[in-house]
Amino acid sequence: MTSTGMTSTDVTGSGLASSDIAQDTVILAAASPDKPQPYAELGLQDNEYARIRSILGRRPTEAELAMYSVMWSEHCSYKSSKVHLAYFGETTTDAMREKMLAGIGENAGVVEIGDGWAATFKIESHNHPSYVEPYQGAATGVGGIVRDILAMGARPVAVTDQLRFGPADAGDTARVLPGVVAGISGYGNSLGLANIGGETYFDASYAGNPLVNAGCIGVLRASDMYTAHASGTGNKIILYGSRTGLDGIGGVSVLASATFGGSGARAKLPSVQVGDPFAEKVLIECTLEVFRAGLVVGIQDLGGAGLSCATSELASAGDGGMAVDLDAVPLRASGMSAAEILSSESQERMCAVVTPDKVDAFLAVCAKWDVPAVVIGEVTDTGRLVISHRGEVVVDVPPRTVAHDGPVYRRPYRRPDSQDALQANTSANLARPATEELGGLILRLAASENLCAKGWITDQYDRYVRGNTVLAQPSDAGMVRVDDETSLGLAMASDCNARFAALDPYRGTQLALAEAYRNVATSGATPLAVTNCLNFGSPEDPGVMWQFREAVHGLADGCVELGIPVTGGNVSFYNQTGAEAILPTPVVGVLGVIDDVARRIGPRFGQGRTPEMLFLLGETRDELDGSEWARVVHGHLGGTPPRVGLAAEQRLAGVMAQAAKAGLVTAAHDLSEGGLAQALVEMCVLSDCGAAITLPPPDPFVALFSETTARILVAVPTSRIGEFAQLCDEHGQPSSALGTVTPTRPRLEISGVTDISLAEMRDAWSGTLPALFG
């Protein structure tokens, strides 16, 4: 018997034109105004379709419809978020802009970091593709963000990943998590980029909609920045990189922005792309060489929406006109229609604008790297994007109407009625443990899914390739040297406690900002710029829209207070399963700079011969609403999150930067989820060294498990305590002596509370993920 599974894929049964049918041209469209078109299946609303007709003065061709539908999707057009995102621009002051070379709207933000260097960084979501096909979804997420960084003229130097899954012991997490981690490592390790950090959280709200966010940092000389624009009539458009195939067609509009379970017009074609990291590696080197040789006017990576996006964005950012011939595009499949070529999301492709005299040199560099490259068109002064296929004009549109003048929605937003009840249900009534139970509680929390060691994940990533990694997981922030020739370093941290964001999205987003800022400061670096990846449910739900608006305002207002700009970001909506939205998850990334990476501060104490004392910087209040204790012990989420103290965070960052410079602090760890108890466990285990401490009065439980912000645990050599105390005094920084580092006693001794061996802590903290995932 021979049977065939899943082979009924009909490559041409796409609902759009294929090679054996006469293609839909501009002339044909003008002559057949009443032909019904599948705009609804492509995700366009009636009024949006009507607007396209009015822009063009006729019905769109199939290729035009494909372009508009994908570029006007939520994912590409930011149609629901735009009106709120404008708040970032409105609140950014000139002082904040001072070091910013490129901001929101470019492929990635760029900031000056000193010595003529600049850095670019960004985080993007690849949530839905990673749910459908975890390995390839996560892998191509890495590939996509790396090309965004490359398109700014920068060499990508490090990646990070912000992951959120359903409960760690849920069946589907066993499918999704290992696949996502393998995809990130398979692609990133092959590409030769150090993975220096990120986050992993588990929560039931992500069970049907995991979040896979990917970040990348790049470095460049400040004078070498490139942007995506097609200027100069007669300049050539060169498409280079992998050939264009049928992968991911409809991915952006159908897969990336519609709730799971919907069936799109392209259901028969896989909306999944397979990445090739080795192709990406040569694409990076080839692109950096054409930059160095000065062969490029403007450049754009091909990501979501492929050529539709690249051609319309390049044209509208330049002189406004472009002519493109799709017959020149190297294809991987036969019989592809114009709509399919324009919508393909084949990976590892870039588009460059090159003056005619440099085309040969550009193509020669591509040939050297074995990168296919062809001229597909040129810049014109017509103000129109004109695309031909098989000798006929199939697209003739004003490019801005595709790329920038998409629909803008002022969706209703309203604080949900349930928010009051959520906030009223505080943790005050939860039973708190007796003092003799605290030792066991420390171990129980250390082993819980959100606090346990993430080494099972991060050990699969190459953290030190390229030889410039200074700090990586499990440090608070990742840090890389910008180049072999300098001691200048970049630090990056990203954070989001979505439980806090659920309780109060404004404050919760500021807490994410505060934590990422503090993590960068903990490493001794000075925070410089902010990016974000805002993951939310459906914007059509007024409650979700309210969360989103609050998050944007919280972040923007927080950045004003800290005096550092938001340089870019990403919005991912429709993260929900049925009517259930995920917890609002506004991931905030902070980039910092350090003059000398040799002065960085890591989390390990007891490494030298000098005796060290432990100090807790910052003040502790009774703040346990939304805490990991409330979650693990009581399964409780309610109340109001900890107070935000951005002035205190700034003061703390100032102290840490100076302490790093003067070498006053041997180790530091920020206090966040799990409070002081978790910070102590992690520092002891990572250091393979004990500590003996006395908790500040009055309540040992609050001292150990409160999640008050603006706190860092530091180790100071006893010989430097006087200088350190003086530094704190100068800054008005509250600090309390907790105890000593005890290299000869491998235990955590908390006076009058508990005494836990290092082995017990290590087993509890490190055992959880290996037990679940092997």
Binding site: M1, T2, S3, T4, G5, M6, T7, T9, V11, V132, E133, Q136, S242, G245, L246, D247, L269, P270, V272, Q273, V274, G275, D276, F278, A279, R332, A333, S346, Q347, D370
Partner: protein
């Protein structure tokens, strides 16, 4: 007992980086006439009489192949036949 062959390849419209690398290696080795290679996996299973065609199809599509990006064929082999 019976022998069953399951062949798995990446769907035709999806990029096959492995096949691409093999094709490039062939071209470098003087076989420029080979213009495309699709690589896949071949499994041979020994099964007893209780294993039905439906079960074979199910296990092929859930364990041996990734149905999102791959296609597969299940073939019962005649006695002594090898593939």
């Amino acid at each position: 007992m019976a022998r069953v062959a399951v062949d798995v390849v990446i769907k035709p419209e999806i990029l096959d980086p492995q096949g691409k690398a093999i094709q490039a290696a062939l071209a470098r080795s003087g076989h420029a006439g080979v213009t495309e290679v699709r690589a896949g996996k071949h499994f041979e299973l020994e099964v007893d009489g209780a294993v039905t065609d439906e079960e074979l199809e199910q296990l092929a599509g859930s364990v041996l192949a990734n149905p999102v990006i791959e296609t597969w064929t299940v073939t019962r082999l005649a006695d002594g036949e090898a593939r």
